[in-house]
């Protein structure tokens, strides 16, 4: 692939970096990232990956834009309310950078489609909001051997880790099982400062770029915790757990399954499938 003069100009501020150069930019343009959940985390991640010239970006989300999303899901605008999130986001990414091929998946990620969808991408960003989806992304990526970035946000805090399946600790090494619905606070109950999605989503995009460019040190085997209240980052060393139910020595999860469907708590009147 030969970069056009316009591409050289568009990406000049990163091509100038020793770690990127023309070859790194070509790599990005030939790379693909899947973003599961186009919400608080997925919006900024998608924007920056498209701006950087990641050649193919897949967006998975079955929801429509609601007005209460706009406080943090910055890829959507007031005029997008009621529109499918993947369509709203896809239009913004195409407008930002015509180099990017955007694939839309207006469906919930499930055990039935996850391996097929994830299989077509180099890196996955978990921008989902709920634990069933977070465990599904982890499990699917573990089975597919697909690197991914996990993140979660709540109130004034967020946390993130990068997983290279089979090589570094996975989400289930830290949290072996999903908490029952309603057992731990959600953003709808406890709230979230909108900027948290930006801070954490942009870290996820950074990890994707570093992975694709093969530069720097990934946030593997560490959980990075961020407190906006104290303005402190705290990096916790984690290790693969021999007892991990999916990547441990005697895994109990051997086929990809949806987390047991539990009754949706009555609190949720809104409908976003992502942070």
């Amino acid at each position: 692939m030969r970069l056009t003069p316009e591409q050289v100009e568009r990406y000049s501020r990163q091509i100038i970096l020793e770690e990127v150069g023309l070859s790194g930019q070509r790599k990005l343009l030939e790379s693909s990232v899947l973003i599961v959940g186009v919400g608080g985390l997925g919006s900024p991640a998608a924007f920056y990956l498209a701006a950087a010239g990641v050649g193919q970006i897949g967006l998975v989300d079955f929801d429509r834009v609601e007005i209460n999303n706009l406080q943090r899901q910055i890829i959507h605008a007031a005029a997008d309310v009621t529109r499918l999130k993947v369509e709203s986001a896809g239009a913004k990414l195409r407008a930002l950078n015509p180099d990017v091929k955007v694939e839309l998946y207006p469906e919930p990620l499930s055990a039935a489609n996850a391996l097929r969808i994830i299989g077509g991408y180099d890196f996955v960003i978990d921008g989902t909001d709920n634990f069933a989806a977070k465990f599904l992304v982890n499990d699917a990526c573990c089975f597919a051997g697909k690197p991914f970035s996990h993140a979660g946000i709540l109130r004034f805090e967020g946390q993130t880790t990068t997983v290279l399946p089979g090589r570094s600790a996975c989400y289930r090494c830290i949290f072996p099982e999903r908490p029952p619905d309603g057992a731990v606070p959600s953003c709808a109950q406890a709230g979230v400062l909108g900027v948290l999605g930006g801070t954490l989503g942009v870290i996820q995009a950074t990890e994707a770029l570093k992975y694709l460019l093969e530069c720097g040190e990934l946030l593997t085997d560490h959980l990075l915790f961020y407190s906006a209240r104290e303005m402190v980052f705290h990096k916790v060393k984690i290790s693969r757990s021999p007892g991990c139910p999916i990547c441990g020595e005697n895994p109990s999860i051997t086929v990809l399954q949806d987390e047991a469907p539990a009754a949706c708590p009555a609190e949720g009147a809104g409908g976003d499938g992502e942070a």
């Binding site: 959940g37 919400g39 608080g40 985390l41 999303n69 919930p108 499930s110 921008g127 989902t128 909001d129 709920n130 634990f131 069933a132 989806a133 977070k134 979660g152 946000i153 709540l154 805090e157 967020g158 946390q159 090494c173 830290i174 949290f175 908490p179 619905d181 309603g182 057992a183 731990v184 606070p185 959600s186 953003c187 709808a188 109950q189 979230v192 999605g197 959980l223 915790f225 705290h234 916790v236 060393k237 984690i238 290790s239 757990s241 007892g243 949806d258 469907p261 539990a262 009754a263 949706c264 708590p265 609190e267 949720g268 809104g270 409908g271 976003d272 499938g273 992502e274 942070a275």
Partner: protein, 72 residues
């Protein structure tokens, strides 16, 4: 005795257990927190029996989702 909890030095009663520390720290959902002591995970069923020692490094890790808890 002193512990390093989440990178911060805390003074706690001697030989406190992990379960007691979670109480002292006013952890909201003690049944759903993952705990590491000196880089090793402590199993939840061992929280009540696991006694901490001077200068132990303790990390408390919480579930964080996002927007709302929705099925599927």
């Amino acid at each position: 005795m002193k512990l390093i909890v989440g990178g911060k030095t805390k003074t706690v009663p001697d030989s406190v257990t992990v379960a007691e520390l979670l109480e002292l720290e006013k952890v909201e959902t003690p049944g759903y927190v993952s705990v590491q002591v000196n880089d090793k995970f402590v199993r939840r069923e061992d929280f009540a029996a696991f006694r901490l020692s001077e200068s132990d490094r303790v990390e408390l890790m919480y579930f964080m989702g996002g927007g709302r808890s929705r099925c599927g």
